[in-house]
């Protein structure tokens, strides 16, 4: 019984990270109809920025609270900047190109970010230790070992999800964003500044990835230049399974994917190698069953 609780907790943590990444995919798709595959590497970029900021803050002798603040704000800021830059310089100019071109291009942008970190970050080829800024240890509740840092991070992740939801649904910027998503041309004729809204949207989506990068660093105490690739595939799968363009779908997809992986390992430990096979088979089966995702897009067909 206690083991089940433990698995649930692990799955929740992983699902939160996946969900945050998937949320970015879904936001970009909703607004620009584009899959930005460099998303995972933007997350890596944010995590490395956070590492530098936290190390610098620690070297300056600042208290832990300030270190955390420095790490989070740097990661979120850098990721947002990078995301906005990519959209302004590469995605907007090519918005009339076939979707396949954009997909390939963002994949290549991801490669550039990844390789640049590997080659130009000092000793970037090796894994980097991420400082432990959150309270260590944990408590055993009903046989389940609950890590304090894990608990804090899950809550922080959920908080960010709530904030993004609020921005999209309750602010003027969110309104402009939804207007562009609904009908680009009408939104522009109604006075929405398209060339400002799109980069800002990408900044918002990328900021969540940057935050996921910090969470990942704090939780696993380790970051490496290649961590974005698999997470991009998983985040994309989660966004698709949930239904592209639907925020709740992305989050549901994230938890679902984490749950699938966990269940395979927990029930068939000797087949743990096959867990991604099982997870991806399930993903394919799910989209075959619900071709536009579990929480379907509102208007999936425009004739």
């Amino acid at each position: 019984m206690s083991a089940i609780g433990q698995y649930v907790l692990n799955g929740l943590m992983q699902g939160t990270i996946y969900g945050l990444v998937a949320m970015g995919f879904t936001i970009f798709f909703g607004v620009m109809n584009v899959i930005k595959f460099s998303h995972g590497d933007v997350m890596t970029f944010g995590a490395f920025g956070a590492l530098v900021a936290a190390t610098a803050a620690a070297a300056a002798g600042l208290p832990t609270g300030v270190q955390i603040l420095a790490a989070v704000s740097t990661a979120v800021g850098l990721a947002a900047l990078l995301g906005a830059g990519i959209s302004r310089l590469l995605i907007l100019p090519l918005r009339s190109a076939p979707p396949l071109n954009l997909l390939l291009m963002t994949m290549m942008v991801g490669t550039v970010i990844r390789e640049a970190i590997r080659l130009f970050f000092p000793n970037g080829t090796n894994s980097q230790r991420f400082p432990a800024l959150l309270p260590p240890g944990g408590a055993t509740v009903g046989g389940v070992f609950v890590r304090y840092d894990g608990l804090i991070l899950i809550v922080a992740g959920l908080l960010i999800i709530a904030v993004v939801h609020h921005i999209i649904n309750r602010t003027r910027f969110g309104l402009a964003m939804r207007a562009v998503a609904e009908d680009q041309e009408t939104a522009r004729t109604m006075g929405v500044n398209f060339f400002r809204v799109v980069p800002l949207t990408f900044a918002l989506g990328s900021a969540t990835a940057g935050f996921a990068g910090v969470i990942s660093g704090l939780y696993y105490s380790e970051i490496n230049y290649g961590m974005g690739l698999l997470i991009a595939v998983i985040g994309f799968s989660a966004a698709i399974v949930g239904g592209l363009g639907n925020l709740w779908g992305a989050i549901l997809g994230g938890y679902l994917f984490a749950g699938l992986q966990t269940v395979v390992v927990a029930t068939l430990p000797t087949f743990s190698e096959y867990k991604n096979v099982v997870a991806f088979v399930a993903v394919i089966a799910l989209i075959t069953w619900r071709p536009t995702g579990l929480l379907a897009e509102r208007a999936s067909e425009r004739v």
Partner: protein
């Protein structure tokens, strides 16, 4: 709408339609331009493949880029297309002669011939992708997995005791197995569209790789060895002695790959010109409208998917036998992406664009070896530049002219 027509070349631009006088003279001069350009390309290919010195390679690449730009600017490409359309069979003859000339020039360069064969393998797979992506509009981000299906078929048949299947049959079986495994994806692909379909193939590609790594029966991560190809008693691992010249054993593979690529090119060309191609176009451009006109979407999608996978599987069987070794690491998501980038770089849906694009994408990383660990970075930057500067690819697909040489 679906009249049969006789021209072999579909990409004849409007200004090539015959006027009143000077038609044959213009035809002849266009054909001369075609022949010169083919010869120049063959020369450039042989030189690029063979050149090793980094400065020579770089200047040759820059020269090729400028020549291409100039050719596009001064409408040489259009003239070449007209030239080929004017004398289709003669044009094919010139192409074959150029290929043979390249092989003769590179006859002792093992590495050059290996690279050439690899380029042709990738080109064949990408011609399959052209049918899928370019004609039917089906996403396929797991082409490397189907290449792997063919390769693993060849490896498994080679290891089976007591069964001696001729290698040509093995290659065909490779294509068959790729289709059989691909059929698992048919239902998901038929039910989904756009990015959702892209994900099914992407997930399949990742899954294929993880499965091979985990499964010990097919050699696991350590891979399997394969024997070289033998056709009618001729062992492909022997050097060739012809006309007093010694050819590297890789020339065997280049010839075989060339034959396969030629078949693929012919197949794609035939599809493009036939009513099947028109139906595939309709399916890609507007599924709903196509359905309204009574087209069975599922049938045409399955046909395109199957044809593409046959080509990938056959190419995979040859590739595995040529390399003599096969491991899951050869068929990663990155390799699938490389193939998609060839199709996009060449110009989606243009079968001739695939050839220069495959040459660039396969050869460039190899020629960039001198920058060592920086080469992946530079390669990615170059692809981004091409996508930004020339979104339509090297040879963008032309609008179909239904009846060449005649007003439709």
């Amino acid at each position: 709408m679906l009249t049969r027509h006789r021209s072999t070349q579909d990409e004849v631009p409007r200004d090539a339609l015959p006027m009143v006088a000077g038609v044959s003279a213009r035809r002849a001069s266009d054909f001369a331009i075609f022949a010169v350009v083919v010869a120049a390309c063959a020369g450039a290919v042989a030189f690029l493949v063979h050149a090793e010195d980094q400065r020579v390679v770089l200047s040759a690449l820059v020269a090729c880029g400028m020549a291409w730009f100039a050719a596009a600017r001064f409408r040489v490409i259009a003239a070449v297309e007209r030239g080929a359309a004017g004398h289709p069979w003669l044009a094919r003859l010139v192409l074959v002669a150029a290929c043979l000339a390249v092989i003769v020039v590179l006859r002792e360069d093992n590495f050059g011939l290996l690279m050439l064969a690899t380029v042709l393998i990738y080109a064949t797979v990408c011609l399959g992708l052209t049918i899928q992506l370019g004609y039917a509009g089906l996403s396929n981000f797991c082409a490397a997995a189907f290449l792997g299906c063919g390769g693993y078929t060849a490896a498994a048949l080679g290891r089976a005791e007591g069964i001696a299947i001729p290698d040509l049959v093995v290659i065909l079986l490779g294509g068959g197995v790729a289709v059989a495994i691909g059929s698992l994806l048919v239902l998901p692909l038929l039910r989904t569209r756009g990015h959702y379909a892209a994900l099914t193939t992407l997930a399949f590609g990742v899954m294929f790789n993880v499965f091979l790594d985990a499964n010990e029966l097919l050699g696991g991560p350590q891979g399997l060895k394969l024997a070289p190809i033998t056709v009618f008693g001729w062992d492909f691992s022997n050097d060739l002695d012809l006309f007093g010249m010694t050819f590297s054993f890789y020339a065997n593979y280049v010839m075989l790959c060339l034959a396969l690529t030629a078949v693929a090119l012919a197949l794609v060309g035939l599809l493009d010109r036939s009513w099947i191609g028109i139906r595939l176009d309709a399916v890609r451009l507007d599924e709903v409208a196509a359905q309204v006109f009574g087209l069975r979407i599922a049938r045409w999608k399955i046909l395109a998917f199957t044809l593409g996978n046959v080509l990938a599987g056959m190419a995979g069987a040859i590739y595995a036998k040529m390399t003599g070794f096969i491991a899951p690491n050869n068929f990663t998501l990155g390799d699938s992406l490389m193939m998609v980038s060839i199709v996009i770089l060449g110009g989606i849906g243009n079968r001739w664009g695939v050839l220069p694009a495959a040459l660039i994408v396969v050869l460039l990383p190899e020629k960039l070896q001198f920058i060592q660990e920086y080469r992946l970075l530079l390669f990615a930057v170059l692809v981004i530049l091409v996508l930004v500067l020339s979104p339509g690819g090297l040879l963008p697909r032309r609008t179909r002219t239904l009846v060449a040489g005649r007003q439709a």
